[in-house]
């Protein structure tokens, strides 16, 4: 018997967790939509046609690198530089996928291959929180988070942004440029449920700023992302706010994180 089969929650628990996932998704949908509009505006301003902008959002589907590409193409950089930087910036997905791998190992290979394309910062955070909450890899929850929470709003918003660029000349006026960094910070806080996570996050912020100021902000993100967790590992784990998946009780509703009024897992 596999882990997933042993931990399949009852229908009521699953429905409740998916309802909670939908609520969690509201902020992400707003983020993806707001940021997607901004990407559409940026792409248009840098000479992308609507088809090209949409192709980036469908085929690449990685916000930070899409912005980098739009800016670099507009500034006259060659494709090679864009592709190299894209590979560097998106290397963080390797770690997201590795974290989700054990949860999804029982899914068919073809489905995992498709799941990979829609793995983003947001879908990673949403699905990992959902899986941990249930103690079960809910494949429908993953698709709901990745497609409904990010892919569809991101692509629709890209179209809105690239077509409506002249209607909203400056997204900053409406605070839309804040949505992406605020969503990243909020999701980081949502995942920081133990001492190690907090230390890793704080160390990553410090490292990102130091390296970012000395070299480049993108290098800072990579340095913080790779080295921050190493700093977190130096902290002795005294309390375990989130148990490992195999330590979760059979009924996730019976589990409460110490010192929190809620389950503490919402993004």
């Amino acid at each position: 018997m596999t882990f997933d089969q042993a931990r399949v929650p009852d229908a009521g628990t699953l429905r409740a967790a998916r309802r909670r996932l939908l609520v969690d998704m509201l902020g992400i949908v707003a983020s993806a939509a707001g940021f997607g509009v901004v990407f559409g505006l940026t792409a248009r301003a840098n000479g992308f046609s609507p088809i090209e902008a949409l192709a980036f959002s469908v085929i690449v589907f990685a916000g930070a690198s899409q912005f980098i590409a739009a800016g670099m193409i507009g500034a006259g950089f060659g494709w090679l530089a864009v592709v190299v930087l894209t590979g560097l910036v998106n290397a963080r997905h390797l770690l997201y996928a590795a974290a989700l791998g054990p949860w999804l190992r029982d899914r068919p290979r073809r489905e995992r291959a498709l799941m990979a394309h829609v793995l983003t910062d947001e879908s990673f955070a949403l699905s990992l929180v959902h899986f941990r909450r249930l103690g079960f890899a809910d494949r429908r929850g993953y698709w709901l988070a990745a497609i409904g929470g990010v892919f569809i709003p991101w692509n629709l918003a890209t179209v809105v942004g690239v077509l409506g660029g002249q209607v909203v000349p400056d997204p900053r006026v409406f605070g839309l440029d804040i949505v992406f960094p605020a969503a990243m910070a909020g999701l980081a806080v949502g995942l920081a449920t133990g001492r190690r996570e907090v230390v890793a996050g704080v160390a990553a912020v410090g490292l990102a700023l130091v390296v970012g100021l000395a070299v480049d902000p993108r290098a800072g993100v990579l340095a913080g992302g790779f080295l921050g967790p190493l700093v977190g590992l130096l902290v002795p784990r005294r309390d375990r706010a989130i148990p490992e998946a195999d330590e979760l009780p059979a009924d996730p509703a019976s589990f409460r994180v110490p010192n929190r009024s809620d389950d503490g897992l919402a993004p």
């Binding site: 409406f174 909020g186 890793a200 921050g228 967790p229």
Partner: protein, 110 residues
């Protein structure tokens, strides 16, 4: 309508997809030692925090060099983080951050 940049999108996909797919498809990643799995647990808050920090605490100075900068963006994002920690609601945090930034800019603060 110009479609020339679709080729660039395909190349960007080619360097992005392996990072997303290899750990999901390669069985070796299921046999990672506990220390490595613990490391991966910490990647989420680290990467997301690093992205947020570089987005709002850095700006481009003279000569294109990055500079440390604290403005309304950072205040709004910090407010979002505090609200998420306090109320456990990302939606509320985002709403407050966006309204705060827009209001501050309308008042000429940001």
């Amino acid at each position: 309508m110009n479609v020339g940049l679709i080729g660039l999108a395909v190349l960007m996909f080619a360097v992005t997809y392996p990072s997303r797919a290899v750990p999901l498809l390669a069985p070796a990643f299921e046999r990672l030692p506990p220390r490595a799995l613990e490391y991966l647990r910490l990647v989420g808050p680290a990467v997301l925090g690093a992205i947020a920090a570089t987005q709002v605490l850095m700006t481009t100075g003279a000569g294109g060099r990055p500079m440390f900068h604290v403005g309304i963006d950072a205040v709004a994002v910090l407010a979002c983080a505090v609200l998420v920690a306090w109320r456990r609601s990302l939606f509320l945090g985002l709403l407050v951050a966006v309204v705060a930034a827009a209001a501050a800019r309308a008042l000429g603060v940001g």
